[in-house]
């Protein structure tokens, strides 16, 4: 009745090649910029890196989430999530340029300045270069290990259909999600929060984690929509599936708004001198425009659009909303880490765009190439049949 192998269509090759060309051009431009203004390059590259790392880690987190939650939405998207998660070894490689920019990025690497600053002197036990690098290595070992194990068992499940593998993936995901939350909280502190080493917020890691969920799901929705245009996936994704994706996207957007506002409300209420500078910087000097932009573009518009059942069931509209949310994610990251790159007020350098497009092109090429390597649906999953044809059989 179906093409039971769901092998990827040849058109993915064209997508991969086009993205690779765009990516290489963008990265070459960024590399040229690195010689002209190295300080700016590292800030732009960090922004681009955190933006696309979200796509890879979002894939990993959602792979684990769907193993735990079950449900048809996860079965039909799992291969896309896995393809995103399998870009993580490359993301470890792309982290390397940042190692050369630590002095340009992080004030706490300046030992002379730290010696003068009581708070930073105390924090030096944690914020020092060797420990920073060791921690980064630990994060990547955990993430790549989880991605490798889960995708390998998933491929094995395609061949054997062994139910023990489903149990193993579920158990690993339970531990894996906990590990991901812990490592990502620390990674967010290390790579982004320590740009302003005096400031701290315990909610900061969660803001990154929910960003990953939005990014990972948005990319999966766009890919699902693209794949459903031709065989073998035409007719696989129905309005009910997109309805589920839309509900999740809606929920993730709400969680993002909830967490972002909570962080602001708590710091605003306490009004403590060590906490408020972060927001004072972001609510003045032009940055308040980005802040208001976030309320509109990252919350109000997606909220109103995704509230309606009809728009969630409309694949084209939902894919458009996913593109919109990816742009909003960039805006949010820019709001979180941009002010440290532009201390004199709102600014935007062409390198910000070049690095994001360059890294993005390469990431999409790697993601597509991963997607191409496996069947587009988990053939050995016991829930596949009901995920494709509804529940009443």
């Amino acid at each position: 009745m179906h093409d039971a192998t769901y092998s990827p269509p040849a058109s993915l090759d064209a997508l991969r090649q086009r993205s690779l060309v765009v990516g290489v051009i963008g990265l070459l431009a960024a590399a040229a910029g690195a010689f002209v203004s190295p300080g700016q390059f590292f800030h732009s590259y960090l922004l681009a890196y955190l933006f696309w790392l979200a796509a890879a880690l979002g894939g990993l987190a959602l792979t684990m989430l769907q193993h735990l939650s079950g449900g048809g939405w996860g079965v039909v998207l799992r291969r896309i999530f896995e393809a995103a998660a399998r870009t993580l070894p490359w993301m470890a490689l792309f982290f390397v340029p940042l190692v050369f920019g630590l002095r340009d990025l992080y004030p706490w690497t300046d030992t002379a300045m730290v010696a003068q600053d009581h708070i930073l002197k105390e924090k030096a036990l944690y914020l020092n270069v060797p420990f920073f690098l060791v921690r980064a290595a630990i994060y990547f070992v955990v993430w790549i290990g989880l991605a490798f194990a889960l995708t390998r068992w998933s491929a094995e499940q395609d061949r054997t259909g062994d139910p023990a593998l489903a149990v193993r993936m579920r158990n690993t995901s339970a531990i894996g999600l906990v590990l991901y939350f812990i490592t990502m909280t620390f990674a967010a502190i290390d790579w982004a929060m320590s740009l302003e080493p005096h400031w701290f917020s315990t909610m900061y890691g969660f803001l990154f984690i929910i960003g990953h969920a939005i990014m990972g799901l948005a990319i999966a929705v766009i890919m699902a929509r693209r794949l459903s245009a031709e065989a073998p996936m035409s007719g696989v994704y129905n309005a009910g599936h997109f309805h589920d994706f839309g509900k999740l996207l809606f929920a993730f957007t709400m969680v993002w708004a909830y967490l972002s506002f909570s962080q602001f409300l708590i710091i605003w209420s306490a009004n403590l001198p060590e906490e408020i500078p972060w927001y004072l910087h972001r609510l003045n000097h032009g940055w308040e425009r980005i802040g208001i932009g976030l309320v509109i573009f990252h919350f109000a518009v997606p909220f109103v659009v995704l509230l309606s059942r009809r728009s969630k069931r409309n694949a084209a509209l939902l894919a458009g909303m996913a593109v919109w949310l990816i742009a909003a994610r960039f805006l949010d990251l820019f709001f979180m880490i941009g002010p440290e790159a532009y201390p004199d007020g709102l600014g935007f350098h062409w390198l910000d765009l070049a690095a994001a497009i360059g890294l993005g092109g390469v990431w999409v090429a790697l993601f597509t190439s991963n997607l191409k390597g496996r069947p587009l649906l988990p053939l050995g999953d016991a829930g596949l049949e009901s995920a494709l044809h509804g529940q009443h059989h």
């Binding site: 009910g240 506002f261 602001f264 409300l265 605003w268 209420s269 009004n271 509230l307 309606s308 059942r309 509804g390 009443h392 059989h393």
Partner: protein, 178 residues
């Protein structure tokens, strides 16, 4: 058409799939005044029975907007007009602290509108409904699935409709008295 002697005809099915198939066939055959009864929610029935989209989401939206305006308005009125107090040197209209209670009243009013709207749109409370006269109808809350074609349907005819329902391979077809 004179008032039919019965309320309708009900067919009993053993699976949700059979019920959805039967409802689809009945809709395709031109029947409109019908209803399905099932112990579990079945999403596909909405389309199979040819039901129109419910007005409930709009009622909930109205409730939510009312809650948002009322919640925010109450705080604004209380802190700036009725009891203007200086709290920690903050402005009287300290909007960040108003957001959370306004959000809560939005949810409260939406939820209340959803429950009340659902009850009213369903025609509840309804002390009497003829479908309970059908033999074995109590099974609808256990493991059986019923499709009832009502006599007020223009296409309803006691003989042909019964024959039609029997062609859907139900467990049995029974009359529903008024």
């Amino acid at each position: 058409m004179e008032r039919a002697s019965i309320y309708g005809l009900v067919a009993e099915f053993e699976s949700p799939t059979a019920l959805v198939r039967a409802a689809n066939r009945a809709r395709e055959a031109g029947y409109r005044k019908m209803d399905a009864y099932s112990p579990i929610p079945i999403e596909e029935l909405h389309h199979a029975l040819g039901l129109k989209d419910t007005k409930l989401p709009w009622i909930v939206l109205g409730g939510g907007l009312t809650g948002a305006v009322a919640g925010y308005g109450l705080q604004f009125w209380a802190s700036t007009i009725a009891y203007p107090l200086n709290i920690g040197g903050r402005p009287l209209h300290s909007w960040p602290s108003f957001i959370v209670p306004a959000f809560e009243t939005t949810i409260l009013f939406s939820a209340a509108a959803a429950v009340l709207g659902m009850i009213l749109l369903n025609g509840l409370p309804m002390p009497y409904h003829p479908i309970f006269n059908a033999r074995r109808f109590a099974m609808a809350s256990r493991d059986r699935f019923f499709l009832c074609i009502e006599a007020k349907d223009p296409k309803f005819d006691q003989t042909t409709t019964r024959r039609f329902l029997e062609s859907l391979e139900p467990r049995e077809v029974t009359d529903v008295e008024h």
